[in-house]
Amino acid sequence: MRALFAFAFFLLLAGTAAAQHQHGKPGAAGPEAFTATPAFGPDGTLWLVRAMADRIVVVRSTDLGKTFSEPVVVTPEPMNLDWGPDARARIVVDPKGGLVVTFAIFQDRNFNGRAFYSRSNDNGVTFGKPRPITADPTSQRFETAAVDPATGRVFAAWLDKRNVAKARAAGKPYPGAALAYAWEDGEAGFGPTTIALDNTCECCRLGVAFAGPGKPAIVFRNIFPGSVRDHGVVTFKDEKTPGPVRRVSADEWKIEACPHHGPSIAVLPDGSYHVAWFTAGSARKGLFYARADNGDTPFGAPRALSQPNRQPARPYLLANGTALHLVWKEFDGTKSLVRWQVSHDSGRTWSDPRTVADTADASDHPMLAANAGRAYLSWLTKADGYRLIPLEDQP
Protein backbone atom coordinates (compact mmCIF):
# COMPACT_ATOMS: atom_id res chain seq x y z
CA MET A 1 0.00 0.00 0.00
CA ARG A 2 2.85 2.32 0.84
CA ALA A 3 4.48 1.65 -2.48
CA LEU A 4 1.19 2.50 -4.15
CA PHE A 5 1.05 5.85 -2.36
CA ALA A 6 4.62 6.53 -3.39
CA PHE A 7 3.72 5.79 -6.98
CA ALA A 8 0.60 7.95 -6.86
CA PHE A 9 2.66 10.76 -5.43
CA PHE A 10 5.20 10.43 -8.20
CA LEU A 11 2.38 10.72 -10.73
CA LEU A 12 1.18 13.84 -8.97
CA LEU A 13 4.67 15.26 -9.21
CA ALA A 14 5.07 14.43 -12.87
CA GLY A 15 1.52 15.03 -14.13
CA THR A 16 0.78 18.61 -15.05
CA ALA A 17 4.28 19.66 -15.98
CA ALA A 18 4.76 16.69 -18.31
CA ALA A 19 1.61 17.64 -20.18
CA GLN A 20 3.30 20.87 -21.24
CA HIS A 21 6.23 19.10 -22.82
CA GLN A 22 5.08 19.02 -26.40
CA HIS A 23 6.26 20.14 -29.77
CA GLY A 24 4.58 22.19 -32.47
CA LYS A 25 2.39 25.10 -31.47
CA PRO A 26 2.59 26.31 -27.90
CA GLY A 27 -0.23 24.70 -25.96
CA ALA A 28 -3.01 26.58 -24.25
CA ALA A 29 -1.67 25.76 -20.80
CA GLY A 30 -0.75 28.71 -18.64
CA PRO A 31 2.27 28.89 -16.39
CA GLU A 32 2.36 26.69 -13.30
CA ALA A 33 4.32 26.55 -10.08
CA PHE A 34 6.74 23.61 -9.78
CA THR A 35 8.14 23.54 -6.26
CA ALA A 36 8.60 21.22 -3.30
CA THR A 37 9.72 22.64 0.03
CA PRO A 38 10.83 20.42 2.92
CA ALA A 39 10.81 20.69 6.72
CA PHE A 40 11.64 18.07 9.32
CA GLY A 41 9.43 17.71 12.38
CA PRO A 42 10.82 17.15 15.89
CA ASP A 43 10.03 13.43 15.52
CA GLY A 44 12.05 13.10 12.29
CA THR A 45 9.04 13.18 9.97
CA LEU A 46 9.82 14.81 6.63
CA TRP A 47 7.07 17.24 5.63
CA LEU A 48 6.87 18.41 2.06
CA VAL A 49 4.64 21.13 0.66
CA ARG A 50 3.93 21.18 -3.05
CA ALA A 51 2.29 23.72 -5.33
CA MET A 52 0.29 21.62 -7.77
CA ALA A 53 -1.25 23.65 -10.60
CA ASP A 54 -4.05 25.36 -8.66
CA ARG A 55 -3.74 23.85 -5.18
CA ILE A 56 -1.32 23.35 -2.34
CA VAL A 57 -0.79 19.88 -0.91
CA VAL A 58 1.25 18.50 1.98
CA VAL A 59 2.72 15.01 2.16
CA ARG A 60 4.82 13.39 4.86
CA SER A 61 7.44 10.68 4.91
CA THR A 62 8.61 8.70 7.92
CA ASP A 63 11.36 6.90 5.99
CA LEU A 64 13.43 9.85 4.74
CA GLY A 65 11.62 10.31 1.45
CA LYS A 66 11.42 6.70 0.29
CA THR A 67 7.63 6.67 0.54
CA PHE A 68 5.07 9.38 1.15
CA SER A 69 1.61 9.63 2.67
CA GLU A 70 -1.40 10.50 0.57
CA PRO A 71 -1.46 14.23 -0.19
CA VAL A 72 -3.49 16.40 2.18
CA VAL A 73 -4.95 19.41 0.39
CA VAL A 74 -4.37 22.75 2.10
CA THR A 75 -6.40 24.86 -0.35
CA PRO A 76 -10.06 23.75 -0.30
CA GLU A 77 -10.77 25.53 -3.59
CA PRO A 78 -8.64 26.05 -6.71
CA MET A 79 -6.48 29.17 -6.42
CA ASN A 80 -4.44 31.18 -8.92
CA LEU A 81 -1.08 30.30 -7.35
CA ASP A 82 2.01 32.46 -7.75
CA TRP A 83 4.11 30.57 -10.32
CA GLY A 84 6.97 33.11 -10.38
CA PRO A 85 10.39 31.49 -10.73
CA ASP A 86 11.44 32.55 -7.23
CA ALA A 87 8.08 31.99 -5.47
CA ARG A 88 7.32 28.87 -3.44
CA ALA A 89 4.89 27.45 -0.95
CA ARG A 90 6.72 26.85 2.32
CA ILE A 91 6.22 24.83 5.46
CA VAL A 92 7.65 25.18 8.97
CA VAL A 93 7.18 23.01 12.04
CA ASP A 94 6.98 24.53 15.50
CA PRO A 95 8.49 22.77 18.57
CA LYS A 96 5.08 21.22 19.42
CA GLY A 97 4.83 19.68 15.97
CA GLY A 98 2.34 22.29 14.70
CA LEU A 99 2.64 22.96 10.97
CA VAL A 100 2.40 26.34 9.26
CA VAL A 101 2.14 26.47 5.46
CA THR A 102 2.56 29.75 3.60
CA PHE A 103 1.91 30.48 -0.07
CA ALA A 104 0.81 33.29 -2.37
CA ILE A 105 -1.67 33.72 -5.18
CA PHE A 106 -1.84 36.23 -8.01
CA GLN A 107 -4.72 38.66 -7.60
CA ASP A 108 -4.50 40.03 -11.13
CA ARG A 109 -2.44 40.06 -14.31
CA ASN A 110 -0.06 42.69 -12.94
CA PHE A 111 1.51 40.20 -10.54
CA ASN A 112 -0.10 41.69 -7.45
CA GLY A 113 -0.06 38.89 -4.91
CA ARG A 114 -1.89 37.85 -1.78
CA ALA A 115 0.03 35.83 0.82
CA PHE A 116 -1.82 33.17 2.84
CA TYR A 117 -1.05 30.86 5.70
CA SER A 118 -2.67 27.75 7.03
CA ARG A 119 -2.02 25.92 10.29
CA SER A 120 -2.38 22.26 11.25
CA ASN A 121 -2.40 21.26 14.91
CA ASP A 122 -3.34 17.61 14.30
CA ASN A 123 -0.06 16.41 12.81
CA GLY A 124 -1.01 17.31 9.26
CA VAL A 125 -4.32 15.39 9.16
CA THR A 126 -6.23 18.62 8.45
CA PHE A 127 -5.25 22.20 7.70
CA GLY A 128 -7.20 25.30 8.62
CA LYS A 129 -8.81 27.35 5.87
CA PRO A 130 -6.04 29.54 4.40
CA ARG A 131 -6.15 33.09 5.74
CA PRO A 132 -4.38 36.20 4.47
CA ILE A 133 -1.13 36.82 6.32
CA THR A 134 -1.95 40.53 6.55
CA ALA A 135 -5.13 42.63 6.44
CA ASP A 136 -3.89 45.04 3.76
CA PRO A 137 -5.07 43.74 0.38
CA THR A 138 -2.65 45.67 -1.90
CA SER A 139 -0.01 43.04 -2.72
CA GLN A 140 2.27 40.60 -0.91
CA ARG A 141 4.70 38.09 -2.42
CA PHE A 142 7.75 36.01 -1.44
CA GLU A 143 6.34 35.28 2.02
CA THR A 144 8.85 33.32 4.07
CA ALA A 145 8.15 31.77 7.46
CA ALA A 146 10.76 30.70 10.02
CA VAL A 147 10.54 29.39 13.57
CA ASP A 148 12.53 31.15 16.28
CA PRO A 149 14.50 28.19 17.68
CA ALA A 150 14.66 29.79 21.13
CA THR A 151 10.98 30.63 21.59
CA GLY A 152 9.20 28.47 19.02
CA ARG A 153 7.36 31.53 17.74
CA VAL A 154 6.66 31.64 14.00
CA PHE A 155 7.98 34.68 12.14
CA ALA A 156 6.97 35.67 8.63
CA ALA A 157 8.52 38.22 6.29
CA TRP A 158 7.44 39.19 2.77
CA LEU A 159 7.58 41.89 0.09
CA ASP A 160 4.62 44.22 0.41
CA LYS A 161 3.34 46.90 -1.97
CA ARG A 162 0.98 48.87 0.29
CA ASN A 163 3.32 51.87 0.31
CA VAL A 164 3.60 51.79 -3.49
CA ALA A 165 -0.13 52.39 -3.69
CA LYS A 166 0.08 55.18 -1.12
CA ALA A 167 2.95 56.89 -2.96
CA ARG A 168 1.15 56.61 -6.28
CA ALA A 169 -1.99 58.17 -4.78
CA ALA A 170 0.20 61.06 -3.59
CA GLY A 171 1.81 61.35 -7.03
CA LYS A 172 5.23 60.30 -5.75
CA PRO A 173 7.57 57.70 -7.21
CA TYR A 174 8.16 54.50 -5.23
CA PRO A 175 10.68 52.07 -6.66
CA GLY A 176 10.33 48.41 -5.70
CA ALA A 177 8.40 47.14 -2.69
CA ALA A 178 8.74 47.09 1.10
CA LEU A 179 10.10 44.45 3.45
CA ALA A 180 7.23 43.59 5.82
CA TYR A 181 7.01 41.22 8.77
CA ALA A 182 4.66 39.82 11.41
CA TRP A 183 4.89 37.31 14.27
CA GLU A 184 2.38 34.60 14.91
CA ASP A 185 0.22 35.56 17.86
CA GLY A 186 -0.05 32.32 19.78
CA GLU A 187 -1.79 29.99 17.36
CA ALA A 188 -4.59 32.41 16.59
CA GLY A 189 -2.94 33.90 13.51
CA PHE A 190 -0.38 36.46 12.55
CA GLY A 191 -0.32 39.69 14.53
CA PRO A 192 -0.05 43.21 13.14
CA THR A 193 2.12 43.83 10.09
CA THR A 194 5.09 46.18 10.32
CA ILE A 195 7.08 47.60 7.42
CA ALA A 196 10.75 47.09 8.24
CA LEU A 197 12.14 48.86 5.20
CA ASP A 198 10.91 50.65 2.07
CA ASN A 199 12.19 50.33 -1.51
CA THR A 200 13.53 46.80 -1.71
CA CYS A 201 13.66 44.88 -4.98
CA GLU A 202 10.19 43.45 -5.64
CA CYS A 203 10.48 39.94 -7.04
CA CYS A 204 13.29 37.98 -5.46
CA ARG A 205 12.90 35.46 -2.67
CA LEU A 206 14.04 36.37 0.85
CA GLY A 207 16.36 34.40 3.12
CA VAL A 208 15.72 34.20 6.88
CA ALA A 209 17.92 32.82 9.69
CA PHE A 210 17.99 33.48 13.45
CA ALA A 211 20.87 35.38 15.06
CA GLY A 212 19.49 34.91 18.59
CA PRO A 213 16.18 34.77 20.49
CA GLY A 214 13.73 37.21 18.85
CA LYS A 215 16.39 38.23 16.34
CA PRO A 216 15.61 37.14 12.79
CA ALA A 217 18.18 38.10 10.16
CA ILE A 218 16.72 38.68 6.70
CA VAL A 219 18.74 38.82 3.51
CA PHE A 220 17.13 40.39 0.44
CA ARG A 221 17.88 42.16 -2.80
CA ASN A 222 17.72 45.83 -1.87
CA ILE A 223 17.56 48.95 -4.02
CA PHE A 224 20.58 51.07 -3.17
CA PRO A 225 20.87 54.66 -4.49
CA GLY A 226 21.02 54.81 -8.29
CA SER A 227 18.73 51.79 -8.78
CA VAL A 228 21.55 49.44 -7.76
CA ARG A 229 20.00 46.09 -6.82
CA ASP A 230 22.59 44.57 -4.48
CA HIS A 231 22.02 42.57 -1.31
CA GLY A 232 21.47 43.72 2.24
CA VAL A 233 20.93 42.04 5.60
CA VAL A 234 18.62 43.38 8.33
CA THR A 235 19.03 41.85 11.79
CA PHE A 236 16.37 42.49 14.41
CA LYS A 237 17.48 43.95 17.77
CA ASP A 238 14.40 42.35 19.32
CA GLU A 239 11.09 41.01 17.98
CA LYS A 240 9.76 44.50 17.25
CA THR A 241 12.91 46.34 16.20
CA PRO A 242 14.47 45.72 12.80
CA GLY A 243 18.06 47.01 12.66
CA PRO A 244 19.79 48.92 9.85
CA VAL A 245 20.63 47.51 6.43
CA ARG A 246 24.10 45.99 6.21
CA ARG A 247 25.25 45.71 2.60
CA VAL A 248 26.60 42.27 1.73
CA SER A 249 28.55 43.26 -1.35
CA ALA A 250 28.93 46.24 -3.70
CA ASP A 251 28.26 44.38 -6.96
CA GLU A 252 26.86 47.55 -8.56
CA TRP A 253 24.07 45.81 -10.40
CA LYS A 254 22.19 48.78 -11.82
CA ILE A 255 19.03 47.37 -13.34
CA GLU A 256 15.48 48.68 -13.69
CA ALA A 257 14.03 45.22 -13.50
CA CYS A 258 13.86 42.31 -11.14
CA PRO A 259 16.09 39.30 -11.69
CA HIS A 260 13.75 36.73 -9.99
CA HIS A 261 16.84 35.36 -8.28
CA GLY A 262 17.04 35.79 -4.52
CA PRO A 263 19.73 35.05 -1.90
CA SER A 264 20.21 32.61 0.98
CA ILE A 265 21.49 33.13 4.54
CA ALA A 266 22.74 31.03 7.45
CA VAL A 267 23.96 32.03 10.93
CA LEU A 268 26.28 29.65 12.79
CA PRO A 269 26.35 29.15 16.60
CA ASP A 270 29.56 31.28 16.71
CA GLY A 271 27.39 34.21 15.55
CA SER A 272 28.94 34.36 12.06
CA TYR A 273 26.78 35.31 9.06
CA HIS A 274 26.91 33.54 5.70
CA VAL A 275 25.22 34.73 2.52
CA ALA A 276 25.15 33.36 -1.05
CA TRP A 277 23.67 35.30 -3.96
CA PHE A 278 23.47 35.89 -7.69
CA THR A 279 24.44 39.13 -9.39
CA ALA A 280 25.18 40.52 -12.83
CA GLY A 281 26.71 43.74 -11.54
CA SER A 282 29.45 45.81 -13.13
CA ALA A 283 31.81 44.85 -10.27
CA ARG A 284 31.17 41.10 -10.55
CA LYS A 285 28.89 38.66 -12.33
CA GLY A 286 27.81 35.20 -11.30
CA LEU A 287 27.15 33.35 -8.06
CA PHE A 288 28.96 34.38 -4.86
CA TYR A 289 29.40 33.60 -1.19
CA ALA A 290 30.60 35.88 1.62
CA ARG A 291 30.87 35.68 5.41
CA ALA A 292 30.92 38.14 8.32
CA ASP A 293 32.24 37.39 11.80
CA ASN A 294 29.07 38.63 13.50
CA GLY A 295 26.02 40.85 13.08
CA ASP A 296 27.96 44.11 13.14
CA THR A 297 31.12 43.56 11.12
CA PRO A 298 31.23 44.11 7.36
CA PHE A 299 31.05 41.10 5.06
CA GLY A 300 34.34 39.80 3.70
CA ALA A 301 35.38 39.53 0.06
CA PRO A 302 32.91 37.61 -2.14
CA ARG A 303 34.05 34.19 -3.32
CA ALA A 304 32.86 33.10 -6.78
CA LEU A 305 31.01 29.78 -7.03
CA SER A 306 31.68 28.05 -10.34
CA GLN A 307 31.96 30.00 -13.62
CA PRO A 308 29.39 32.15 -15.43
CA ASN A 309 29.36 29.87 -18.52
CA ARG A 310 27.97 27.07 -16.31
CA GLN A 311 25.00 29.21 -15.27
CA PRO A 312 25.54 28.82 -11.50
CA ALA A 313 22.24 29.70 -9.81
CA ARG A 314 19.83 29.27 -6.88
CA PRO A 315 22.23 29.00 -3.93
CA TYR A 316 21.08 27.59 -0.58
CA LEU A 317 22.90 27.66 2.78
CA LEU A 318 22.21 25.58 5.88
CA ALA A 319 23.83 25.66 9.31
CA ASN A 320 23.71 22.17 10.82
CA GLY A 321 25.39 22.39 14.23
CA THR A 322 28.78 23.88 13.43
CA ALA A 323 28.77 22.49 9.89
CA LEU A 324 27.86 24.91 7.12
CA HIS A 325 26.44 23.44 3.93
CA LEU A 326 26.16 25.24 0.61
CA VAL A 327 24.48 23.97 -2.58
CA TRP A 328 23.69 25.56 -5.90
CA LYS A 329 22.52 24.53 -9.34
CA GLU A 330 24.62 24.68 -12.48
CA PHE A 331 24.35 23.46 -16.07
CA ASP A 332 26.95 21.41 -17.94
CA GLY A 333 25.44 21.65 -21.43
CA THR A 334 23.20 18.61 -21.00
CA LYS A 335 22.27 18.29 -17.35
CA SER A 336 21.48 20.47 -14.38
CA LEU A 337 23.76 19.55 -11.49
CA VAL A 338 23.47 20.28 -7.79
CA ARG A 339 26.93 21.20 -6.50
CA TRP A 340 27.72 20.94 -2.79
CA GLN A 341 30.39 22.29 -0.47
CA VAL A 342 30.71 22.02 3.32
CA SER A 343 32.77 24.06 5.77
CA HIS A 344 33.74 23.10 9.32
CA ASP A 345 35.59 26.29 10.19
CA SER A 346 32.85 28.91 10.01
CA GLY A 347 33.02 29.31 6.25
CA ARG A 348 36.73 30.12 6.09
CA THR A 349 37.69 27.00 4.15
CA TRP A 350 35.48 24.66 2.15
CA SER A 351 35.50 21.16 0.73
CA ASP A 352 35.99 20.93 -3.05
CA PRO A 353 32.65 21.29 -4.86
CA ARG A 354 31.04 17.96 -5.56
CA THR A 355 28.04 17.01 -7.70
CA VAL A 356 25.45 15.35 -5.46
CA ALA A 357 22.56 15.08 -7.92
CA ASP A 358 21.78 15.77 -11.56
CA THR A 359 18.85 15.73 -13.95
CA ALA A 360 18.37 16.13 -17.70
CA ASP A 361 15.18 18.21 -17.58
CA ALA A 362 13.60 21.08 -15.66
CA SER A 363 14.02 21.25 -11.89
CA ASP A 364 13.10 23.25 -8.83
CA HIS A 365 15.72 25.12 -6.83
CA PRO A 366 17.83 22.89 -4.56
CA MET A 367 16.88 23.12 -0.87
CA LEU A 368 18.59 21.87 2.29
CA ALA A 369 17.10 20.47 5.50
CA ALA A 370 18.61 18.84 8.58
CA ASN A 371 17.40 16.11 10.89
CA ALA A 372 19.13 14.32 13.78
CA GLY A 373 22.47 15.86 12.96
CA ARG A 374 22.38 14.97 9.27
CA ALA A 375 21.94 17.36 6.37
CA TYR A 376 19.94 16.49 3.25
CA LEU A 377 19.49 17.89 -0.22
CA SER A 378 15.80 18.19 -1.12
CA TRP A 379 15.24 18.51 -4.88
CA LEU A 380 12.19 18.28 -7.12
CA THR A 381 12.93 17.40 -10.74
CA LYS A 382 10.61 16.90 -13.69
CA ALA A 383 12.31 13.78 -15.04
CA ASP A 384 13.37 12.07 -11.81
CA GLY A 385 10.64 13.13 -9.40
CA TYR A 386 11.38 14.23 -5.85
CA ARG A 387 14.62 13.26 -4.16
CA LEU A 388 15.94 13.55 -0.61
CA ILE A 389 19.68 12.93 -0.71
CA PRO A 390 21.84 12.65 2.44
CA LEU A 391 24.97 14.77 2.26
CA GLU A 392 28.08 12.92 3.26
CA ASP A 393 29.37 15.36 5.81
CA GLN A 394 33.11 15.35 5.29
CA PRO A 395 35.40 18.30 4.74
Binding site: A17, Q20, H21, Q22, H23, G24, K25, P26, G27, A28, A29, G30, P31, E32, F34, W83, G84, P85, F111, I255, E256, A257, C258, P259, H260, H261, F278, A280, K285, P308, N309, R310, Q311, A313, K329, F331, G333, T334, S336, D361, A362, K382
Partner: protein
Protein backbone atom coordinates in the same frame (compact mmCIF):
# COMPACT_ATOMS: atom_id res chain seq x y z
CA UNK B 1 12.72 23.32 -52.35
CA UNK B 2 12.85 26.82 -53.69
CA UNK B 3 9.10 27.33 -53.43
CA UNK B 4 9.21 27.13 -49.64
CA UNK B 5 9.83 30.80 -48.83
CA UNK B 6 7.04 31.74 -51.24
CA UNK B 7 4.68 29.22 -49.70
CA UNK B 8 5.60 30.51 -46.27
CA UNK B 9 4.96 34.07 -47.39
CA UNK B 10 1.54 33.12 -48.74
CA UNK B 11 0.69 31.28 -45.54
CA UNK B 12 1.82 34.23 -43.46
CA UNK B 13 -0.22 36.61 -45.61
CA UNK B 14 -3.29 34.43 -45.17
CA UNK B 15 -2.69 34.18 -41.45
CA UNK B 16 -2.23 37.90 -41.03
CA UNK B 17 -5.24 38.76 -43.21
CA UNK B 18 -7.50 37.65 -40.39
CA UNK B 19 -6.97 38.62 -36.80
CA UNK B 20 -3.77 40.32 -35.75
CA UNK B 21 -2.74 37.28 -33.72
CA UNK B 22 0.95 36.50 -33.94
CA UNK B 23 2.05 33.29 -35.64
CA UNK B 24 3.94 32.00 -32.65
CA UNK B 25 6.53 29.25 -33.09
CA UNK B 26 7.48 27.00 -30.20
CA UNK B 27 11.04 27.57 -29.06
CA UNK B 28 12.38 24.33 -27.61
CA UNK B 29 15.57 22.30 -27.63
CA UNK B 30 17.34 22.65 -30.97
CA UNK B 31 15.26 25.66 -32.08
CA UNK B 32 18.17 28.07 -31.81
CA UNK B 33 20.33 26.27 -34.38
CA UNK B 34 17.33 26.08 -36.76
CA UNK B 35 16.63 29.76 -36.28
CA UNK B 36 20.26 30.64 -36.93
CA UNK B 37 20.43 28.41 -40.01
CA UNK B 38 17.28 30.01 -41.45
CA UNK B 39 18.92 33.44 -41.34
CA UNK B 40 22.42 32.33 -42.20
CA UNK B 41 24.33 34.94 -44.17
CA UNK B 42 21.72 37.66 -43.54
CA UNK B 43 22.05 40.48 -41.03
CA UNK B 44 19.45 39.65 -38.38
CA UNK B 45 18.20 41.30 -35.19
CA UNK B 46 17.01 38.86 -32.50
CA UNK B 47 15.21 40.43 -29.57
CA UNK B 48 14.56 38.40 -26.41
CA UNK B 49 11.72 39.67 -24.26
CA UNK B 50 9.25 38.30 -21.72
CA UNK B 51 5.68 38.85 -20.56
CA UNK B 52 7.02 38.75 -16.99
CA UNK B 53 9.62 41.43 -17.73
CA UNK B 54 8.16 44.89 -17.08
CA UNK B 55 10.87 46.90 -18.91
CA UNK B 56 10.40 44.61 -21.92
CA UNK B 57 6.72 45.50 -22.18
CA UNK B 58 7.54 49.20 -22.04
CA UNK B 59 10.15 48.76 -24.78
CA UNK B 60 8.09 46.57 -27.14
CA UNK B 61 6.16 49.34 -28.94
CA UNK B 62 9.50 50.96 -29.80
CA UNK B 63 10.48 47.79 -31.63
CA UNK B 64 7.11 47.92 -33.38
CA UNK B 65 7.90 51.45 -34.56
CA UNK B 66 11.40 50.49 -35.71
CA UNK B 67 9.94 47.59 -37.65
CA UNK B 68 7.50 49.96 -39.41
CA UNK B 69 10.33 52.37 -40.15
CA UNK B 70 12.64 49.61 -41.46
CA UNK B 71 10.41 47.08 -43.20
CA UNK B 72 13.45 45.34 -44.71
CA UNK B 73 14.94 44.58 -41.29
CA UNK B 74 15.11 40.88 -40.42
CA UNK B 75 13.63 41.01 -36.93
CA UNK B 76 13.07 37.90 -34.82
CA UNK B 77 11.28 38.21 -31.49
CA UNK B 78 11.74 35.47 -28.89
CA UNK B 79 9.55 35.45 -25.75
CA UNK B 80 12.01 33.93 -23.25
CA UNK B 81 10.04 33.85 -19.99
CA UNK B 82 11.66 31.50 -17.46
CA UNK B 83 8.27 29.89 -16.87
CA UNK B 84 6.51 29.35 -20.24
CA UNK B 85 3.54 31.69 -20.64
CA UNK B 86 0.06 31.34 -22.10
CA UNK B 87 0.63 31.72 -25.89
CA UNK B 88 -2.60 33.69 -26.26
CA UNK B 89 -1.25 36.36 -23.93
CA UNK B 90 2.12 36.40 -25.69
CA UNK B 91 0.35 36.89 -29.05
CA UNK B 92 -1.84 39.58 -27.58
CA UNK B 93 1.17 41.57 -26.37
CA UNK B 94 2.88 41.24 -29.75
CA UNK B 95 -0.25 42.47 -31.53
CA UNK B 96 -0.52 45.46 -29.18
CA UNK B 97 3.10 46.38 -29.94
CA UNK B 98 2.43 46.04 -33.69
CA UNK B 99 4.81 43.09 -33.86
CA UNK B 100 2.38 40.29 -34.70
CA UNK B 101 3.70 40.00 -38.25
CA UNK B 102 7.39 39.53 -37.53
CA UNK B 103 8.99 36.13 -36.95
CA UNK B 104 7.83 35.25 -33.45
CA UNK B 105 8.96 32.50 -31.10
CA UNK B 106 8.09 31.67 -27.50
CA UNK B 107 9.91 29.44 -25.01
CA UNK B 108 7.72 26.39 -24.39
CA UNK B 109 10.22 24.23 -22.52
CA UNK B 110 10.55 24.66 -18.79
CA UNK B 111 14.17 23.50 -19.03
CA UNK B 112 15.17 27.14 -19.36
CA UNK B 113 18.82 26.39 -18.56
CA UNK B 114 19.09 24.21 -21.64
CA UNK B 115 17.48 26.77 -23.97
CA UNK B 116 19.67 29.58 -22.67
CA UNK B 117 22.79 27.42 -22.90
CA UNK B 118 22.12 26.75 -26.59
CA UNK B 119 21.84 30.48 -27.24
CA UNK B 120 24.73 31.61 -25.01
CA UNK B 121 26.15 29.50 -22.15
CA UNK B 122 26.92 32.61 -20.10
CA UNK B 123 23.43 34.14 -20.43
CA UNK B 124 21.89 34.06 -16.95
CA UNK B 125 18.44 34.87 -18.32
CA UNK B 126 18.29 38.66 -17.92
CA UNK B 127 15.71 40.35 -20.14
CA UNK B 128 15.41 42.27 -22.37
CA UNK B 129 18.37 41.22 -24.51
CA UNK B 130 19.12 41.92 -28.15
CA UNK B 131 21.47 40.09 -30.50
CA UNK B 132 22.71 41.78 -33.67
CA UNK B 133 23.98 39.05 -35.99
CA UNK B 134 25.91 40.14 -39.07
CA UNK B 135 26.40 38.41 -42.44
CA UNK B 136 29.35 36.45 -41.07
CA UNK B 137 27.45 35.28 -38.01
CA UNK B 138 29.27 37.64 -35.66
CA UNK B 139 27.07 38.50 -32.68
CA UNK B 140 26.83 41.81 -30.85
CA UNK B 141 24.91 41.56 -27.55
CA UNK B 142 22.89 44.49 -26.21
CA UNK B 143 21.86 43.79 -22.63
CA UNK B 144 18.88 45.53 -21.10
CA UNK B 145 16.64 47.99 -22.96
CA UNK B 146 18.28 48.53 -26.36
CA UNK B 147 19.48 51.87 -27.62
CA UNK B 148 17.61 51.88 -30.93
CA UNK B 149 19.97 54.50 -32.37
CA UNK B 150 22.68 51.87 -31.99
CA UNK B 151 20.48 49.32 -33.74
CA UNK B 152 19.78 51.77 -36.62
CA UNK B 153 23.50 52.52 -37.00
CA UNK B 154 24.21 48.80 -37.06
CA UNK B 155 21.53 48.20 -39.71
CA UNK B 156 22.97 51.02 -41.85
CA UNK B 157 26.47 49.62 -41.49
CA UNK B 158 25.27 46.19 -42.70
CA UNK B 159 23.93 47.71 -45.94
CA UNK B 160 27.27 49.27 -46.74
CA UNK B 161 29.16 46.01 -46.44
Amino acid sequence: MKFRPLLLAVLLAVASAGAQAADLQSFGRGSWSKLRAAHDGQPTVVHFWGLTCAPCLVEMPEWGKLRAERPDMRLVMVAADPVPQDPARVSDMLARADLAKVENWAFVDRFNERLRYEIDPAWAGELPRTLLIDRDGKETVLTGVADLAEVRAWLDAQKKR
